[in-house]
Symmetry: C2
Subunit: 197 residues, 2 copies
């Protein structure tokens, strides 16, 4: 299954590279490629610059389309071209994963309307303004609804990705991966320590 | 304080980007730059390609020198030029951090001799052959000995980095950062769930 990772200026580092660590080590099952609107080096405010291809060059069907969050989402929700591309790729992908405020970008496409979703706890009040017909689950480590997986803030992307592996390959497989990266996986998608009423 | 991150072919994704997420968001305290032997794009087996500068161009004093692990370390321990550079930069850095098998590279310089260190649990038997005068702590999430911090496998780099922030800025500061990235920080460096006798 191929994994297409969306990049844009000021993406959040760990939103991208937590899931990439997990998918990346499963060479027999997943192949990762990075895409952005312009292609080339995409930079963020952590000093990271990552090589990418143009999103318009996605021709094949995608297995997992991964949409990270970050400060850049505040700008990109207004980028009509990018939102349209996100919609197109999401429609033709087998699964769509969002991390943190990446959920706002997917929300903006309308594809999450009527579905359950979550996001970063501290940005939640902003994120929900991007999709008022979505069933927002404020207290969740991650959600799944059909082919759409959405996670809480930053680190939660790793728990969601392991949860996805569990759904696809079984829980023993997911636990083995968590063990290999010495990660204390939160197995229960409802176990969210960062929700504060 | 500036943070110099070492890259080499087949570095481990999260060894690098876990700590980079944490330092990266503290713009007022830390500035990150990536370095490698050759400069330019450095790739790993997860499909990631990151822009870097040449390590020989490090002229200023470094605050934190971060050495990640990954499959590439198996080759780089035999790279005499790189090990010499790692030694030079480590000597002139205020702090040196290693994640996972990155400890093997630092071990090879001799600078850890007589000091306490740890590494990835599953690669431990190989790592310790790189420095037989080191006091190896097999059961540890991370260690610190003077200016040298070393961590267990992959995800443990994040716990170590937060532990470092706690040492420098206080535990409330470190907890706030962990909260912001919704990370369940293992605060106790001796709490290692991945050690198996």
């Amino acid at each position: 299954m191929n994994v297409a990772v969306l990049l844009f200026d000021d993406f959040e580092t760990l939103d991208v590279f937590g899931p990439v660590e997990i998918f990346g080590r499963l060479k027999d099952q997943y192949q990762i490629q990075f895409y952005s609107e312009s292609g080339g080096l995409i930079k963020n405010n952590h000093g990271v610059a990552v090589q990418s291809e143009k999103i318009e060059d996605i021709k094949k069907e995608i297995g997992v389309f991964l949409i990270p969050g970050g400060w850049g989402t505040r700008k990109e929700v207004h980028n009509v071209y990018l939102i349209e591309k996100i919609k197109e790729v999401s429609q033709s992908s087998k699964f769509v994963h969002t991390v943190c405020t990446g959920t706002a970008l997917l929300a903006k496409t309308g594809l999450l309307d009527g579905k359950r979703a979550t996001s970063n706890k501290r940005a939640f009040d902003w994120v929900i303004t991007q999709g008022e017909k979505i069933i927002w689950i404020r207290k969740a480590r991650w959600t799944k609804d059909g082919k759409f997986y959405t996670s809480a803030g930053v680190s939660a992307g790793m728990d969601m990705t392991l949860g996805f592996l569990s759904d696809i390959h079984g829980i023993d497989f997911a636990r083995k991966v968590a063990f290999e990266i010495e990660y204390n996986w939160i197995e229960n998608m409802e176990e969210d320590n960062f929700y504060q009423q």
